[in-house]
């Protein structure tokens, strides 16, 4: 009998302890602060690991600031954020598995996914219970076309770049366009958009020589081929570093024309590999460090303090940082950390109210479709200087939600 009592007691202890720990994981600290898990599923190993790490760095930076300041209160309850990261190696099916894990194990009301394949794969999951707010970091307009009510798309959509990029380079260099982008689905879509616009503006599109930027051992072959058509402007783009190598190889073989650089590649990262003189005549994303607004300068300074001088704060870091701050602000406004619909409803107001020093970019609104927008500026490198080209506002059909 005694032994059965003991067993019962032991069982009770186990159950009690189990219940306690369960409660803790649901989210309250010892001091009564509510813990909110923020999910991330992106590439942390493999060829795109560096990219994924940049995104995580942006999120970590925002979360650390929020926790340190300790001023986030939702419904008069202090809140602390915790980032839960899972590696999906850039594979959409892995993103879906990770999102399921994040929802079940960490109960994340918000999940960041930084690649279009993964985003499109998990969008339908966001509206099935348990719902979550999908924070999408990719410039692909298909994200908005899906018309998902629980998506926040962070970066500017890339189709806004086509017209000004084509106009500027065609005027400066001539009307023959060489095509040498990476052959991912994103690269193909970009190339299609640019070539269509190039023809519309009366230019001639030469042979398509797109190659896989990640698996090509030597770019000399495709580079020689592209130059054989004597282009005036060449479309390039993929991850920054191989894009820089391609530009270098083109210059080495005597090319003197301009470049349209896809928004995945960042000038500041390319300049770590090749001198700016080789980038002369390129249009692309404006380097973050060249912005002079208060929010950007402060962000860049804090980034360097946290991650060191030799690391670059690119737009990946800055925009995800920005996105996290908007989400936190929206939670405060909505008075809930657990209801994605309510949080989503406050995003526009949150973007408007966010303090200047937490805005690396001067984007000030979230549209009805869930797109963070504002005045986008791009860069044209002329005589070794960044010249700004403004991009007209555009996001679906939408005006901001009221």
């Amino acid at each position: 009998m005694i032994s059965s009592h003991r067993l019962l007691a032991l069982g009770l202890i186990v159950v009690t302890v189990g219940a306690c720990s369960d409660e803790a994981s649901e989210g309250t600290d010892a001091d009564g602060t509510e813990v909110v898990n923020i999910g991330f599923s992106g590439p942390l190993s493999g060829g795109a690991a560096f990219y994924g790490q940049n995104v995580v760095n942006g999120l970590t930076m925002a979360i650390d600031e929020l926790n340190q300041a300790g001023d986030i209160e939702v419904n008069e309850q202090a809140v602390r954020f915790e980032l839960v990261t899972l590696d999906d190696r850039y594979l959409p099916n892995e993103s879906a598995t990770n999102v399921r894990r994040l929802l079940q194990q960490s109960r994340t009301p918000v999940i960041f996914v930084p690649h279009v394949g993964g985003i499109l794969a998990v969008q339908p999951m966001s509206v099935r219970p348990p719902e979550f707010l999908l924070s999408a970091y990719s410039s692909d307009p298909r994200i908005l076309e899906a018309a998902n009510p629980l998506t926040l798309m962070i970066p500017p959509r890339y189709d806004g770049y086509f017209e000004p990029f084509v106009g500027a380079t065609m005027e400066a260099y001539g009307n023959r366009l060489g095509v040498l982008p990476t052959n991912t689905s994103y690269g193909r879509a970009w190339a299609e958009g640019v070539t269509e616009e190039w023809r519309r503006q009366g230019g001639e599109v030469l042979g398509d020589h797109s190659v896989d930027y990640n698996t090509t051992t030597d770019f000399a072959g495709p580079v020689t081929q592209t130059l054989a058509d004597a282009p005036d402007v060449i479309l390039v783009g993929g991850p920054s570093q191989p894009t820089a190598l391609i530009v270098h190889a083109l210059r080495q073989q005597g090319y003197e024309g301009g470049f349209i650089v896809m928004d995945q590649a960042k000038f500041e990262e390319m300049e770590q590999i090749i001198p700016r003189t080789e980038l002369e005549g390129s249009v692309g994303v404006y380097p973050l460090e060249a912005y002079t607004s208060v929010g950007t300068v402060g962000f860049v300074e804090r980034f360097h303090e946290k991650f060191g001088r030799e690391r670059l704060p690119t737009s990946e870091v800055a925009l995800n940082y920005f996105g996290m701050h908007i989400v936190a602000q929206a939670m405060e406004l909505a008075g809930t950390v657990a209801d994605p619909q309510a949080i989503r409803g406050q995003l526009t107001e949150a973007a408007r109210q966010l303090s200047e020093d937490r805005k690396p970019y001067e984007y000030d609104t979230v549209t009805k479709e869930g797109h963070l927008t504002g005045d986008v500026v791009t860069a044209f490198i002329q005589n070794g200087e960044y010249t700004a080209i403004p991009i007209p506002r555009r996001s679906g059909r939408g005006a901001p939600v009221e």
């Binding site: 942390l44 190993s45 493999g46 060829g47 690991a49 560096f50 994924g52 790490q53 052959n183 398509d208 020589h209 797109s210 190659v211 896989d212 990640n214 698996t215 090509t216 051992t217 030597d218 770019f219 000399a220 072959g221 495709p222 020689t224 081929q225 054989a228 991850p239 570093q241 191989p242 190598l245 080495q252 073989q253 005597g254 770590q272 590999i273």
Partner: protein, 286 residues
């Protein structure tokens, strides 16, 4: 016509790299019957060692190559001792799985040690020379000359020296080699050392033309397997010829058919060759 010759040079440079990598792979397969899936990872580690020696320790490019070759030869020996030698009596599947394990270990290890970011190795040979009216990057010329020299050196070593003959004997019959007094332990270690050193040498040559990252070996690894299957598993001339063949088909096929299909064309060649010669172009014989 200029385009053709320019692409020919590009193809030969690429083929030199493919050939060097495939040589190491075919050597290990020929002698020890291990398909070393970690070969591409050894190539990647070779590139990092060159980078560290050249950039962090400020050695010259040539000195850094030497360091990488020596270090990788050491890693090759260690791999043979620690991983593959204990498995020599186990079913062959075990060493295949072990090789995959080494691949994952090295890639993850490189990301941990050096980070996921791309590295660039500067080379003193960064200029361009004009050869018969064609602009050719000096580094590409260096790749061709150095690779051909190493290939000739390796074949002389195998054909003209006693140690080379011992390697060949072991490739033909391990038990027989043991019977005539060849120290098969030593030969196994030597084979791994040469194989890894070849990978490091190829990586050091190609590094200034490309970027160094933990996954840089994956594409080359796949190509190397295609090459040794194409050339005949375990065949030395097969690896060299297969390397140049694959590279030329890729580059010229890309030029005259479609660059989007250059990878596809390469694999189509493999299928065609295997349809007519299922054992590869050169049947075995180191």
């Amino acid at each position: 016509m200029t385009l053709f010759f320019q692409q020919l040079v590009n193809g030969i440079a690429l083929g030199s790299i493919y050939g060097l990598v495939a040589l190491g792979l075919t050597l290990v397969y020929g002698v020890l019957k291990i398909p070393n899936f970690a070969h591409g990872a050894l190539y990647m580690v070779g590139a990092y060692i060159t980078f560290v020696a050249a950039v962090v320790y400020g050695m010259g490019y040539i000195g850094a190559i030497a360091v990488a070759v020596i270090v990788l030869a050491g890693i090759g020996v260690a791999l043979e001792r620690v991983v593959f030698n204990p498995l020599r009596h186990a079913p062959r599947l075990h060493s295949m799985i072990a090789a995959l394990g080494v691949l994952l270990f090295l890639e993850a290890g490189a990301q941990l040690a050096w980070g996921a970011e791309f590295r660039r190795l500067p080379s003193p040979f960064s200029g361009t020379v004009v050869l018969f009216g064609l602009p050719v990057a000096t580094q590409r010329l260096l790749v061709i000359v150095a690779a051909v020299a190493v290939m000739i050196g390796l074949s002389l070593f195998l054909k003209r020296t006693t140690t080379g003959a011992a390697i060949e004997a072991m490739a033909q019959d391990r038990a027989g080699a043991l019977l005539v007094g060849i120290d098969t332990r030593k030969i196994a270690m030597l084979t791994f050392a040469i194989s890894a050193a070849l990978a490091a040498f190829a990586a050091a040559l190609v590094a200034p033309l490309n970027l160094i990252s933990p996954t840089m070996g994956e594409a080359v690894n796949l190509k190397a397997f295609v090459i040794i299957i194409l050339g005949g598993m375990g065949s030395i001339p097969g690896a060299v010829v297969g390397g140049y063949l694959l590279a030329l088909v890729e580059v010229l096929g890309g030029t005259y058919i479609s660059s989007s299909f250059s990878q596809l064309i390469a694999f189509a060649v493999l299928v065609v060759v295997l349809a007519f010669r299922p054992t590869g172009l050169f049947t075995r014989g180191v």
